[in-house]
Symmetry: C2
Subunit: 318 residues, 2 copies
């Protein structure tokens, strides 16, 4: 069983990814950590608690950061995920007393030591919690098995940014945290817009999930309505990009992706703020900013149809 | 006849582009302006004078900038073009008294006024001379017919930089000048690595040019030897990228290229310094840094074989 901590800012596609993770074979969710991002930390923590109860995930939910390492949190993406983060569906009161007693970063550090070389971090929110954990205890870089990040964009297939011409939302929300994360000596893979915007789930798949995926399938349909409307308005398509679930897909079957290796930096200020830049290992010359940084993995291609099939089969249980 | 000023830092591929321009139908070279870049300003000015004499170009050569708008000139690219900028072939003394009496920027301003709406600037060096001309007289933006720039990289086809993971040499040599140039309200097209690194001229073509292109064809073969060695060493190919000649090809036949429109900014400091970033017109949201900037044209695709054929036919005169 792969032990996974899911770092998340739910978020409609976060919810879809969490259900994917829950229903995947060979995965044990050992914790869920919340982050500001798609909503405020109050919203995303509430949603994380709600989703865990709804999906029957019996794991601690630890509350994470309300803002980036430096500066203020960006405005919640209400136009993408709704003002409650889950497509403005009706939701019950969710008691906060179910929360884990420590913060997300402390929880990650604890788990890294309790299960050395066994924990995979699947991070689909701003990178603040993971960077805070690293600052708290740099030794976890040697104790975590693998980090899989949804975030960033490297220009492949024309995908270079969704909040600026060169910046993706998760990275842009805390560029400093991302830069520290990518510089740590743990095996890290980035699943960015280069592949998530190549993987497009038709509205029809969501409708089929509602028919064959049980109550959770119907829940996904209900929350996805808002997200599909956003995609129709912004992209003119009756479909959605598969962002967060692509990180889970990498965990389950990395052979879905082609990759490029090399050290990665994040631009932390100026007009390119939030941009992720890799120096490919195959290029001989390494500019100073990329020197002495570990080579990390970037997904640059994806078998989109096979990924969509994996999602459907896993979530619908067929 | 298209009146052209060729702004250049010869440079082996500059020489190849200048011969292309000279032999093209319907083009009148009204001046050549030199810039620091591939060599020091002394080297590139000497080479510009020499090439004009050798190719029978009867136009003024005006000396341009020795360094960028701010800071010091980058080191000459001796490993690419040889220490004399022309593949270390033997060269005669070239008297500087043939030089035009004014500087390159003053010459450009004069010509813009003398031939309003008739001058095309083909710029294949750092952008300093053109930016200086604009600073000297901003009204030239309304008098120049068209600007065609070899420089920059936008990530298409995986081409994002040749001096850093995101920066191309001409732009990186004077990012401030490029940013001012791209912000001026003249029609400007960028022919960057996205297309120049997609257009690869085999060594065999150079050999054929030596057979069929007269003394100038043999001269190209002689200087190209060094450039081909560089490409063999750095790219493992017996061929060369077609950088500067691609800007001339755009002048002669824009239908060789597919393009994307939108305002362009250049990163002027930090790890992404020298990066060119376009906000595509088709994307609705415009971040502040791209607002109130004119929409310009970026070449994103090229019919490479047709471009190579055009070069060969034009230069060999077949």
């Amino acid at each position: 069983m792969r032990k996974v901590i899911f770092d998340t800012d739910p978020g409609i596609d976060d919810a879809m990814a969490l259900l994917f993770l829950k229903r995947a074979h060979g995965v044990e969710i050992v914790g869920v950590t919340s982050s500001f991002g798609n909503g405020t930390i109050e919203t995303t923590t509430r949603n994380a608690l709600y989703l865990c109860e709804l999906f029957g995930i019996d794991a601690p939910v630890a509350e994470g950061s309300a803002s980036p390492l430096a500066g203020a949190a960006r405005s919640p993406a209400d136009h993408v995920h709704g003002s409650n983060g889950l497509g403005d569906i009706a939701m019950p009161e969710v008691p906060r007393n179910a929360l884990y007693e420590k913060t997300a970063d402390a929880f990650i550090v604890d788990m890294a030591h309790r299960f050395p070389h066994q924990i995979t971090l699947v991070a689909v929110a701003p990178m603040t919690n993971l960077a805070s954990a690293l600052r708290r205890d740099p030794s976890i870089a040697g104790l975590i098995k693998e980090v899989i990040v949804m975030g960033g964009a490297f220009g492949f297939h024309g995908h270079s940014g969704n909040v600026s011409p060169v910046a993706e939302a998760n990275i842009s929300s805390d560029p400093q945290a991302a830069d520290e994360l990518f510089g740590a000596a743990w095996p890290l893979t980035i699943v960015g817009l280069d592949v998530t915007q190549e993987t497009i789930m038709p509205a029809e798949t969501i409708a089929r999930l509602a028919q064959h995926g049980g109550p959770e399938g119907r829940f996904i349909r209900d929350i996805a309505r808002f997200y599909l409307d956003f995609h129709k308005d912004s992209e003119g398509m009756d479909a959605m990009f598969v962002h967060d679930s692509s990180a889970v897909a990498y965990l389950l079957d990395p052979s879905l992706f082609t990759v490029r290796r090399g050290p990665i930096r994040v631009v932390c200020d100026g007009i390119a703020v939030g941009q992720t830049i890799q120096k490919p290992d195959r290029k001989k010359t390494t500019p100073p900013a990329w020197r002495d940084r570990p080579s990390q993995t970037v997904c640059v291609g994806v078998d989109a149809q096979r990924l969509l099939d994996l999602y459907y089969r896993t979530v619908a249980g067929t």
